[in-house]
Point group: C2
Chain length 135, copies 2
């Protein structure tokens, strides 16, 4: 369960947008989420290209979610920032059965992260067990 700074920042930014009811400046996101200013730009750009957020330029511009928070899963965000995981080297015959185990782990992880949305995370802020209840 490797989690890059980029991904963590991206999730923070998405959550910041999810709680806002109007466009938010990159500057504001950078400050509240404690993301280096230019790196924040960088990440927001990537999220926009992936279609997760939208933007408006110029003064009074900013960023907002492309879909409601309940329709954006954590996995959607992570897929963007982590990119394609590089294929691991082929298994030796003796280690071949490990492939099935890795698959199980990956699919469980994927299932959980696909199930939990930004809305779930926000709702869990202070309550018990996030993402356990249906949405």
């Amino acid at each position: 369960m490797r989690i890059s700074a980029r991904t963590q920042y991206a999730l923070g930014a998405m959550l910041a947008l999810a709680v806002a009811d109007r466009p938010v400046h990159a500057e504001r996101i950078a400050v509240t989420q404690d993301i280096p200013r230019r790196f924040c730009d960088n990440i927001l750009l990537q999220l926009r290209r992936a279609g997760l957020i939208r933007s408006q330029r110029g003064p009074d511009g900013g960023y907002w979610l492309a879909r409601p928070p309940g329709e954006i899963a954590l996995a959607d965000v992570i897929r963007v920032t982590e990119g394609a995981e590089q294929a691991l080297r082929p298994f030796s015959p003796a280690a071949a059965p490990l492939a099935a185990i890795w698959d199980r782990l990956r699919s469980h992880e994927n299932a959980l992260l696909s199930e939990i949305t930004l809305a779930d995370v926000i709702a869990s802020n202070g309550h018990a067990h996030p993402g356990r209840e249906a949405r």
Copy 2:
């Protein structure tokens, strides 16, 4: 679910030792598991220092498991080669609930890998669903 080459090699080596009934040379492990020769040495040394395998020097020396394959979990091996995972950076308040989710993922992963032993992996070689049955 990041898996380094080192870890994959280590698991291959452990499985190779698990199926052998006598000490095995590093050379032989390197060849059968397709591990660069000196890197193989390197990894075996680490496994020995961690107490997972034992060794004997000189001609007719080699390596063997310190415990029976049914008593060595995949997690035991992985813990050695991956070392302590470095702490991730602190969460912003908005992203704080993610910590609980990461925890759930980590503990599930850990549970599964602690449950499956080398013996399980070997037994699953060709059969269905590895690690599903009790040991």
